[in-house]
Symmetry: C2
Subunit: 159 residues, 2 copies
């Protein structure tokens, strides 16, 4: 299998959204995706993009992608957050995921950043094993806490 | 106790760094803070700031702060990440933390964002109880995964 890794263009966003949706199904939350192709184009290609995307292309088809953006740690300064690393089901196990992952890590390394961070589901042992094999560390005592828009509304109106 | 919540200015960054360091001690990682006042000024007050800060001021002294920035969820679009919510030890339990927290949630609500996210230590039951009382949800099956700069170097050079 021959593939190339390249920066995504606006025209790739429909394929990127397809991969995002495929991942949401894998993560058992198919209803959770409310982002549109237009959102991806608007936010990913404005003057100060909200995110950056590498895609993996094989014979003209996008078969994987890594989407990341910058965060600011009050301990470490600017960091990279790897939001999504996705390879379509039919192309897994062929090194595409690793190539995309490496590309994002290279950006962080070249920029001299002190951290790359991402989230993983605790039952996704294949992914965890891979990440740990590269030297990444699972932060066992941190939990992700979220408030939804509905939660915000309810809480702020009850004050 | 009378306090005000306001947007931080460059001049507040030494006080903000002091709070950041105080939190790192509480979280049992006092050595982890490498950020400087200069970093905070440079990244927090450039044209497209890397983060935004509210401070709580009492009688001219900064006694708490909430620092946040924007992220991009491939499911929900633009979200707010609450990086730090800190009240100095001597002023805890007087509503300052809640006032800062509410302020950040209000920004998200006013902008119509679909999510506010942050991280909490699983042994910090006081914080977890407070967050849950406001309608926030702890994502029990997600784990934070991190690669340090040393890890990046080692991994990329071994390829």
């Amino acid at each position: 299998m021959t593939f190339i890794i390249r920066e995504a263009q606006k025209e790739d966003m429909p394929s990127v959204l397809k991969l995002i949706t495929e991942l949401a199904v894998f993560e058992r939350e198919p209803e959770a995706v409310v982002v549109t192709v237009e959102d991806l184009v608007n936010y990913g290609f404005k003057k100060e993009p909200a995110f950056f995307t590498f895609v993996a292309e094989e014979a003209g088809t996008i078969v994987g992608m890594a989407l990341f953006y910058y965060r600011f740690s009050t301990w470490k300064g600017v960091t990279i957050h790897l939001e999504d690393l996705i390879v379509t089901q039919s192309h897994r196990g062929s090194g595409i995921g690793k190539a995309l992952y490496d590309k994002v890590l290279e950006v962080a390394h070249m920029k001299g950043l002190k951290r790359v961070e991402w989230a993983v589901l605790d039952w996704n042992t294949t992914a965890i094993k891979f990440y740990e094999s590269t030297g990444a560390v699972i932060q066992k005592d941190w939990r992700v806490c979220q408030m939804t828009d509905a939660g915000l509304k309810k809480y702020l109106e009850s004050k």
